[in-house]
Amino acid sequence: MRALLALLVVAPGCKAVECGPGTFESDGLCIPADDIVDPATCGPFTELVAGQCVPLFPPTTCDDESTTPELDPSTGVTTCIGTGTGFACEQPVQGKQTICGQLHDLQTGLPFTDGNAACAPCTTSTATGVCSLGLRAIDAIKFAMNPQDPGAVLATGALYLDDCGRFKIPDITLPTNPFVGIGIDDAAPGMAGPAGTTNAIGMATPAVANLALKDFEAFIAPTATTDVWDTGGPKVSDGIFVAIFRAARLGTVGQAGVTILRAGTPIPGDDFYFAGAPRTTIDGNASSTSANGTALVTGAQLDGYLGAGGLPTECSYEGHAGVSIPNVLFIQIFRPNGPTCDL
């Protein structure tokens, strides 16, 4: 019995291999490293990180007082944007998302700016013009299901809006749902909805942590625009999903000849198209987009939408969700896609 206890004491664990420095245990054996790197091989202003010599300092350092760094995530290139007239979209704090962009007039597609705009930040709310607007970040799914849900509003950093119509919604606390929405309406509480500078506008984009999303196209649409649609078209009071089909992956050119599909199926009766390039006159006989690439949809219940037609066979439109919320214009940009699509 004493011998048995002694055996137990001398065999407390199972580890049979102890590998020395620079060797690794693999399949029970100690094997040499694939590579041993000497930091002396690194040149000036570089250091050894994970076996490679990498720059000791960030590749770009912007002057704090006159510039703001803007990172292009597709290339890793940081550009210093002048703070005088430049418009940088800074990286959000860890785990958040920032959305930057330009407001446009939905009817004309042109940037929405004040007359004699100097790109000065809106410091006080005005009765008309860009600085009469208020922007906020929302959980797009929660908002679509219940626009009155106070839980749909997302926390952000300090909003930026200037009289050129440029905006930043920084450091958005991401929702649990996969889409972040942007809500645009008159800032004055009494002017919410159709009154004032714009109808209530909603837009959405995928929620991506640590992303500074640049050049986001946002829109305003006053009742002067949407009242015209009442003739032969949908009414804002019922809610309108505005689908804008672009002709290319970049740019603002609309695509003609596109029919919107709900869950892959045409929706005659629920879709409306314009008679020409301006987003004014509805063509009751049209079954596809005019040169402005725009379809107006009613009765959208947070469905998936696509566009059919107008593109070469190797290209197709990516799907997006759409919804019709009473007294809200929900606007979504559709762009062509495809592995061999050169648009």
Partner: protein, 307 residues
């Protein structure tokens, strides 16, 4: 008998099996994927002919000792540009057809080119088949699009044979060839290529986790664009025990070269409870944009649990 009992008692504390480690990784949604076969890399894409390596690093005095732990690639779950993105299996309608031609083949088979106006005499099953084929094409565009699913796969340097100029050759037919002979020839050549290199990856839209060829280790964090539901997470069982590791790195290497690679992600392990390590990996070139969270269960051969 007494000796047998003593041996059993002494050995009961050990589980002598796999001595390597388990690595589980969540790559952030912004992680690039490799370009489609034969395509120029687009925005946020690696070139087609690269692979990635996960390496473990020990700091020894003033030097770094590296060992490759796992080699892998990152792809879109379906690559419509691949010459072998085909239908395979006993239950498929057109074995060997390039999937991009599936809807057209169904249209020819059923005579239904306009779902809203099927020909007189079309059966209910034919209407269902035509509609299903159209929906499949829509799903392909979503799965393979820029917001589609990214998959972590086995790595291979193999490439497919060159495409024939037309449907009458004896080699790999172009995707547009959907006649029976072309489909059969495409099926045979693709399966031969896969058999010659079991690591060559080719995904399918039919079962996202069961590729036509190669291995799916998991997915980059993201959304299934069809449902849309969150997906993500990949794992490997590796031979290296991964004990006393000071740093982990993921590097990108051109296929078929001794290139030391480009550092893509790097992180330092933090000891967690029950011997499990956690590693937050950051990209030196894209800090905060591309990240990964990795969990390492080191030396699975060491199990000190007593029963």
């Amino acid at each position: 008998m007494r000796i047998a009992i003593i041996f059993w008692v002494v050995n009961v504390a050990c589980v002598d099996g796999f001595r390597g480690a388990n690595v589980q990784i969540d790559l952030s949604p912004g992680t690039p994927v490799q370009a489609s076969v034969g395509q120029t890399p687009g925005t946020n894409e690696f070139p087609e002919n690269v692979h990635l390596r996960l390496s473990a690093i020990q700091h020894i005095e003033d030097r770094d000792a590296l060992i490759e732990v796992q080699r892998f690639e990152l792809h879109k779950v379906v690559d419509v540009a691949s010459p072998c993105f085909i239908d395979v299996g006993i239950n498929v309608r057109f074995p060997g057809i390039h999937v991009s031609e599936f809807e057209r083949a169904v249209q020819e088979d059923t005579g239904i080119t306009d779902l809203a106006n099927p020909p007189a005499g079309a059966t209910e099953q034919q209407k269902i088949d035509a509609a299903t084929a159209q929906q499949r094409m829509l799903n392909l565009a979503r799965l393979g699009g820029s917001m589609g699913i990214k998959v972590v796969t086995s790595a291979s340097e193999s490439i497919y044979p060159a495409l024939d100029a037309d449907c009458t050759g004896s080699g790999l037919p172009p995707p547009a060839c959907r006649d029976e002979a072309s489909n059969a020839r495409r099926l045979a050549i693709c399966q031969d290529t896969w058999a010659a290199d079991p690591l060559l990856f080719e995904g399918t839209d039919r079962v996202l986790t069961a590729p036509l060829a190669g291995t799916t280790f998991g997915f980059v964090d993201g959304l299934n664009p069809i449902t849309p539901t969150p997906i993500g997470g990949a794992q490997w069982f590796v031979d290296v025990a991964l004990e006393e590791i000071d740093e982990y790195a993921i590097t990108v290497h051109p296929d078929g070269t001794d290139d030391p690679g480009t550092l893509f992600l790097v992180g330092t392990p933090v000891d967690g409870p029950r011997g499990v390590d956690h590693v937050h990996l950051e990209s030196p070139s894209l800090p905060g944009v591309v990240t990964a969270e990795m969990t390492v269960f080191p030396n699975l051969g060491e199990d000190e649990v007593s029963f």
